[in-house]
C-alpha cells in the first residue's frame, strides 16, 4: 500500500521529498540505535556502586570467557542492574508505543495513556495496596496493572455502547471522566491515610527500583501481548489516517481498529505503571518527537521508532537518576522530563 496519504495533522508541516525523508528516517533510526546501545552500556556499567568494567563483562559473559567476577559484583550486575536495564527498555518502549497507538488511532495530538483513564486507574490500583492494604505489598504491580486495565475497560464500555458509539470525542470525554473518578479515589485514600502518604509519593514520582526479575516475569506476558497487538495495528492505523470512510472502503473497520489500539495501549501503559509507577510524559512526548525527527506520521515508522526512542530516553534518565546523588536515588520521572523536554521544545521550535 502507499503511504502518500498517511501524513497526519501532527507534524504535518514536515513534508519533504520522499528520498530525502527516507534517508532522514534511516539516520534517525541509526542515531537512536547507537544512543540506545550507549544507554544500555551505561546502565550496566554505572550505578551507585563502582563495579570494575571487567567484572561487568565477566558477569555478563562469564559463561563464554570462563572468568568469574567476585560474587557481590555478579549479584549487582545480574540481579539488580540487568533486570533494571531491561525494565527501563521495556517500560520506555511500551509507553512510547502506547502514546503512538493512541495518537494514531484517535487522531488527537494530546492523546496519551492519561486520556483513556489508564494512568488514573493504575495509580489507584497502586494506592489501594500502598495505603489501604500495606500488608499486600507483594501485589502492588498486579494491582496497578489490574486497575489500569479496569479503567480502560470502563472507558471502552462507556464509549462503545449506546448512541454515537465509538466516536472519538465520546471516547476522550469518557476517558477523562473515568480517569477523574480514579484520581479522586487516589486523593481520598491519601487524605484518609496521611501517615502512609510518603510511600505513595515515591510510587507516583516513578522509579525503576524493582524487586528484580520477579516483577518483570509477572508483567512480561501482558507487555508481550501489547507489543504484538501494536505490530499488527501499524498498517490498519495508516489506513485509519485516511479518514474513517476511506478506511472502511479499504476493508478496515475504524471502530475495531480504535478499540484494538486502545486495548493495546491500555495493556502497555498498565504494565509500565506496574513496573515503574507513573511516567506519563513518555507516552505523549516521545511519538511527537519521533514524528518531528522523522518528518512523517507513517505509523510503520512512528510506532517502532517510538519504542526505540522511549527505551533510550528512559534508560538514560534512569542512569542519571541513580548516579547523580549515589548511593541515594532520585525519582526517574522528573529526571526524564529534565532530559527530554528541552530536546522536544527545541525540535518543536525548529519544526513548527
Amino acid at each position: 500500500m502507499s503511504f502518500a496519504a498517511t501524513e497526519r495533522p501532527v507534524g504535518a508541516g514536515l513534508h519533504a521529498p520522499a528520498p530525502r525523508v527516507s534517508a532522514r528516517r534511516i539516520a534517525v533510526v541509526a542515531v537512536l540505535s547507537i544512543a540506545l546501545l550507549a544507554a544500555v552500556a551505561a546502565s550496566l556499567a554505572l550505578g551507585s556502586v563502582k563495579v570494575p568494567l571487567n567484572s561487568v563483562l565477566d558477569s555478563l559473559c562469564g559463561w563464554l570467557t570462563g572468568h568469574h567476577p567476585p560474587p557481590i559484583d555478579r549479584e549487582i550486575i545480574l540481579q539488580l542492574r540487568l533486570p533494571r536495564t531491561l525494565t527501563a527498555l521495556v517500560v520506555g518502549a511500551a509507553l512510547g508505543v502506547a502514546g503512538a497507538l493512541l495518537q494514531g488511532s484517535l487522531g488527537n495530538p494530546l492523546a496519551s495513556p492519561d486520556v483513556i483513564g489508564v494512568t488514573g486507574g493504575a495509580a489507584f490500583g497502586a494506592m489501594v495496596v500502598i495505603l489501604l492494604s500495606p500488608a499486600s505489598v507483594a501485589l502492588l504491580p498486579l494491582s496497578a496493572l489490574a486497575f489500569g486495565l479496569l479503567a480502560a475497560a470502563l472507558v471502552a464500555m462507556l464509549s462503545w455502547t449506546g448512541r454515537n458509539a465509538g466516536g472519538v470525542g465520546r471516547l476522550i470525554l469518557s476517558g477523562i471522566a473515568v480517569g477523574s473518578i480514579f484520581t479522586a479515589g487516589t486523593s481520598m485514600l491519601m487524605a484518609v491515610y496521611p501517615s502512609r502518604a510518603p510511600s505513595a509519593v515515591m510510587w507516583l514520582a516513578g522509579s525503576l527500583q524493582t524487586e528484580g526479575w520477579g516483577t518483570i516475569r509477572n508483567v512480561a506476558p501482558y507487555l508481550g501481548g501489547g507489543f504484538l497487538l501494536a505490530i499488527g495495528l501499524m498498517r490498519p492505523l495508516n489506513r485509519l489516517a485516511l479518514g474513517d470512510e476511506v478506511a472502511a472502503s479499504l476493508g478496515t473497520s475504524p471502530r475495531v481498529v480504535r478499540l484494538a489500539a486502545i486495548g493495546a495501549a491500555a495493556i502497555l501503559a498498565s504494565g509500565s505503571a506496574a513496573l515503574a509507577g507513573l511516567l506519563g510524559f513518555l507516552g505523549i512526548v516521545v511519538p511527537h518527537t519521533v514524528r518531528l525527527l522523522g518528518g512523517t506520521s507513517n505509523n510503520t515508522f512512528v510506532v517502532p521508532v517510538s519504542a526505540l526512542a522511549g527505551a533510550t530516553l528512559l534508560t538514560i534518565g534512569d542512569v542519571v537518576a541513580r548516579t547523580v546523588k549515589a548511593p541515594l536515588e532520585l525519582p526517574v520521572g522528573p529526571m526524564m522530563v529534565a532530559i527530554g523536554v528541552p530536546l522536544f521544545l527545541w525540535l518543536l521550535r525548529k519544526a513548527v
Binding site: 551507585s48 505489598v137 524487586e211 546523588k325 548511593p327
Partner: protein, 302 residues
C-alpha cells in the same frame, strides 16, 4: 491645644487610674494564665507523655499512628485528636477544646501559623529530633507549664537512664535502618532520631557516611538508598519500620525477609531482618532508655 481648667484638674487622676488599672490587669489571674498555660494539647507522643510525667493532664492528645501503646496510661480518658497531613489537628475540634497552648512538632509545622492566628500558643520545636536534645526538650516543656524543678529532675533521670542503657555493649553489628515503603529502601541517615538510637545501642549505622540530598530539616534524615549500595554495604542487621497497623506486620515482615534485592546480605542470610510493630525508631519517645534496651536485646543482640 488648651484644655479647660476642669479637664486639666481631672487629667492627672485619670492617668493615674488608667495606670493602676493596667497594673491590676497585668497582675490578675488571667495574665498568669497566659504565662503558664492551663489547658494544653499535645499532638506528639513525646510531648504528651512528658506532660503526663510532669503531672500535667492535657485536655487532648493526638491518636498515635502506631497505636495507643505509645501513650502513657496516665493519659487514659484524655480526649483524642485525629491528625491529618500537613496541618495536624482539625482547627474546629481544636478551638472547641479552648487550649492555651499546643505542643506540636516539625512534622506538623505547616499548620502552626493557622493555629497561632486562633490565639493559641504553639510550641513546634520541642519534639526531639535527636537523642541528645531529649533533656533540653523536657526542661523547656516543664518550664512552659510551670513545672521547672520537676522538669530538671525528670531530664536528669531520663538522661541517666539512656546513658546507663548504653553500658556493657559486647558487639557493634552493621545496621541498616529503613522505612518500609514497598520496594523502595528509604534509609534513615545519620543525624536522625533512629540513627542516634541505633548508635547508642551499639549499632554501626551503614548509612552514617551518606550525605542527605535535602540540606536541612526532617527531609535531611532519609534517602532513597540504592539496593546496589545495600548489597555492597552488606549489613548484619536490617530493621524496617513499616507503614501499616500492627496486625499487618507479620505479612510485611515476610515480604522484607524474602525481598530479592537484599537476599545476599548477611542480614538476610542469617535471618536478621526485623520489622517492629511500633514507630519508636522514627519519632522521639519519652523513655529512650527502654528503646535502646529493646533495640539491643531484640535486634542487635549485644
Amino acid at each position: 491645644m488648651l484644655l479647660p481648667p476642669l479637664a486639666r484638674r481631672l487629667l492627672a487622676p485619670l492617668l493615674l487610674a488608667v495606670a493602676l488599672a493596667a497594673i491590676a490587669i497585668a497582675g490578675a489571674p488571667g495574665a498568669a494564665h497566659a504565662a503558664t498555660p492551663e489547658r494544653v494539647v499535645a499532638i506528639t507522643p513525646f510531648t504528651a507523655n512528658i506532660l503526663a510525667q510532669l503531672g500535667v493532664r492535657p485536655v487532648a492528645v493526638a491518636s498515635p499512628a502506631a497505636g495507643e501503646q505509645g501513650l502513657s496510661s496516665a493519659l487514659n480518658g484524655v480526649a483524642r485528636l485525629k491528625l491529618s497531613h500537613p496541618n495536624g489537628p482539625n482547627l474546629e475540634q481544636l478551638v472547641a477544646l479552648r487550649p492555651d497552648a499546643l505542643f506540636s512538632s516539625p512534622t506538623w509545622r505547616a499548620g502552626t501559623p493557622r493555629i497561632q492566628r486562633l490565639g493559641i500558643k504553639v510550641y513546634d520545636s520541642l519534639d526531639p529530633q535527636r537523642l541528645g536534645t531529649v533533656p533540653i526538650a523536657i526542661t523547656k516543656i516543664a518550664s512552659i507549664v510551670g513545672k521547672g524543678p520537676q522538669g530538671t529532675a525528670l531530664a536528669t533521670r531520663v538522661q541517666a537512664g539512656y546513658r546507663g542503657a548504653q553500658k556493657d555493649i559486647t558487639r557493634h553489628p552493621r545496621v541498616l535502618l529503613a522505612m518500609g515503603l514497598a520496594q523502595y529502601t528509604l534509609a534513615i541517615l545519620r543525624n536522625s532520631w533512629g540513627g542516634d538510637i541505633i548508635t547508642a545501642a551499639g549499632g554501626n549505622l551503614v548509612t552514617k557516611e551518606i550525605k542527605p540530598i535535602a540540606g536541612s530539616g526532617q527531609d535531611a534524615v532519609v534517602g532513597n538508598l540504592s539496593n546496589e549500595a545495600v548489597v555492597r554495604m552488606n549489613p548484619d542487621v536490617i530493621i524496617v519500620v513499616p507503614h501499616g497497623s500492627p496486625s499487618d506486620v507479620p505479612t510485611i515482615a515476610k515480604y522484607y525477609r524474602k525481598f530479592a534485592p537484599w537476599r545476599t546480605t548477611k542480614a538476610a542470610r542469617t535471618g536478621q531482618i526485623y520489622v517492629p510493630t511500633d514507630d519508636l525508631l522514627l519519632q522521639a519517645t519519652s523513655d529512650p532508655a527502654a528503646l535502646i534496651r529493646k533495640v539491643r536485646s531484640q535486634y542487635l543482640h549485644n
